[in-house]
Symmetry: C2
């Protein structure tokens, strides 16, 4: 349970940055060498590499070396637990807005 | 699109802490005065209040004052976009482990 919670911390934290989400989105199209993965971002290679390391540490990206080229692959499995955690709240985001309006109206009394 | 991305940053960041997730989980049971919400956590009231403010800023918690009591309510709507973002990756976490094993095997050659 503790490990599950720590993994959620790491997953959600990794997803809280737009560059890291964009990297995952690029990898969804297929495995990619690091240089190709980094090229569209308006930042230095070390800066992108730092984001790649965060994703790697979170288990969302797997790196392998083939000859002299480093390839990256998406590993979406940790996203499953994050999605499961969120799914519980679906009952609340589907709730009627009326309820929120009443809550806020009450507070102005 | 930019706003959508910023909201995702804020939502995922807010969810990357176990205390904040626990607060949302408590609020899923119903609206709650801040003091009652804070009581089970092994930290000071100012520390819990800081987490509550992060959730409030992320739009995941709404606060209202009723008389002298501050009530909190869950607002799950921002979680919907986070869940939508994650849902795209379902096709990958359902992918066979064989594919990953092959990828890793290749890299050891």
């Amino acid at each position: 349970m503790v490990n599950y919670s720590i993994q959620l911390d790491t997953t959600f934290s990794a997803l809280s940055d737009p560059t890291r989400r964009a990297i995952l989105s690029k990898l969804a199209k297929g495995d990619m060498p690091i240089l190709e993965l980094a090229s569209p971002f308006d930042m230095s290679l070390p800066a992108v590499s730092k984001h790649i390391r965060v994703l790697e540490k979170a288990g969302l990206l797997i790196r392998k070396k083939q000859g002299r080229v480093h390839y990256c692959r998406l590993n979406a499995k940790p996203l499953r637990d994050a999605a499961k955690w969120l799914a519980f709240y679906q009952q609340f985001w589907d709730a009627k807005l009326d309820s929120l309006a009443n809550f806020l109206e009450d507070s102005s009394k």
